[in-house]
């Protein structure tokens, strides 16, 4: 099923950016470190809202309020992670192609982004949403999906 994608991955690895990152002694680790900093921003923004949806953390505030203040950091975190993740991927695209964790990460990342911006954000926009079975399910699902993305991401390096 993924075999037709191989030429694309080969092309990715041969891009100017891919070559530059691979050749450099410093580029990969430094970009990786910034990728981790993006994870901190994204993680903080996601967790504050998810915990609130579970009725934990900042539970004296309304869900909509916590989500509104977190949104900017959620977007910044996602953008930093994509901007750093792409060059990391380009530098070792063929390794990623044969790496199961990479595919798990991409699939769950796709789900996580859709879920966050279409399901969770939409629910959090509703000013009347309070801790409920619905909010708890959304918060728990969000933590579970994002955790899987991060865990699979870490495991790319170990497999």
């Amino acid at each position: 099923m993924i075999e037709p994608w191989l030429p694309f991955f080969e092309w990715c690895e041969a891009t100017t950016i891919g070559n530059a990152v691979r050749m450099s002694l410093w580029a990969f680790p430094v970009i990786e470190a910034v990728h981790l900093l993006g994870l901190c921003v994204l993680g903080g923004a996601v967790l504050l809202v998810d915990l609130r949806m579970l009725g934990l953390g900042l539970k004296q505030q309304r869900i909509a309020e916590v989500a509104r203040d977190s949104r900017r950091y959620l977007v910044v975190g996602v953008l930093v992670m994509i901007a750093t993740g792409v060059p990391l991927f380009l530098s070792e695209a063929i390794k990623c192609f044969y790496n199961q964790s990479f595919w798990v990460k991409m699939a769950t990342l796709f789900v996580a982004l859709l879920f966050t911006f279409f399901v969770r954000e939409r629910a959090a926009h509703d000013d009347t949403l309070d801790t409920s079975t619905r909010s708890r399910l959304i918060g728990a699902a969000s933590i579970a999906i994002w955790f899987t993305v991060a865990a699979a991401g870490r495991w790319i390096g170990f497999s």
Binding site: G57, L58, D69, A151
Partner: protein, 186 residues
């Protein structure tokens, strides 16, 4: 004396077993990394609140009361997993310049936490709902943000030690900072 102790530690059975294990070491390391967004992420949001940048309608005490237990839980996991990773190969870490910088930064970050909670936070009732907290709190927030960010970065590059003592020649200051013992130069 420290080195003798670390060499002894590195020779213990559990240290070797941990380092050589196929899955335990990567799992401990993954737990360490995956706890970073919990610890640094929640701390960062509190720092931003202390700097008066966001969550303006959330009282500071909501962060120090309701979010801090989560930050603390993350910190505890990081300390335990971090110590285990150190225990798995203490001597190379001892000679790793990034590890040394990280330890110094950790001490600074811990001092900042201590100053904030033992002094600055004592008067929180007076400025709990202020959009922009007093200067001392804002400084504490930015020191926290910068130091934890640098700790994440130095922690990540520990694994890529460009200044390993085995890679020579290196500038004198690098060898000094990493504590390298160069033959014929003692």
């Amino acid at each position: 004396m420290i080195l003798t102790f670390l060499e002894w530690m590195q020779g213990t059975g559990w240290s070797i077993r941990l380092l050589e294990s196929l899955y335990v070491w990567p799992l401990v390391e993954s737990t360490h990394v995956l706890t970073i967004p919990l610890f640094v992420g929640t701390a960062l949001m509190m720092d931003l609140r202390l700097m008066g940048l966001t969550f303006k309608s959330v009282p500071v005490s909501a962060f120090t009361g309701r979010m801090l237990p989560w930050t603390r839980a993350g910190g505890a996991i990081l300390v335990v997993t971090g110590l285990l990773l150190f225990y798995s190969s203490p001597v190379p870490y001892y000679y790793n310049v990034f590890f040394r910088v990280k330890v110094v930064l950790l001490i600074l970050a811990a001092l900042n936490v201590w100053i904030f909670h033992s002094r600055i936070h004592n008067t929180v009732a007076e400025w709990d709902s202020d959009f922009v907290p007093p200067r001392a709190a804002r400084i504490s927030g930015i020191v926290s943000l910068i130091s934890w960010a640098l700790i994440v970065v130095t922690g990540r590059v520990i694994a890529y030690n460009w200044f390993d003592c085995d890679i020579q020649p290196q500038p004198d200051w690098v060898n000094w900072a990493a504590g390298c013992v160069i033959e014929g130069q003692q």
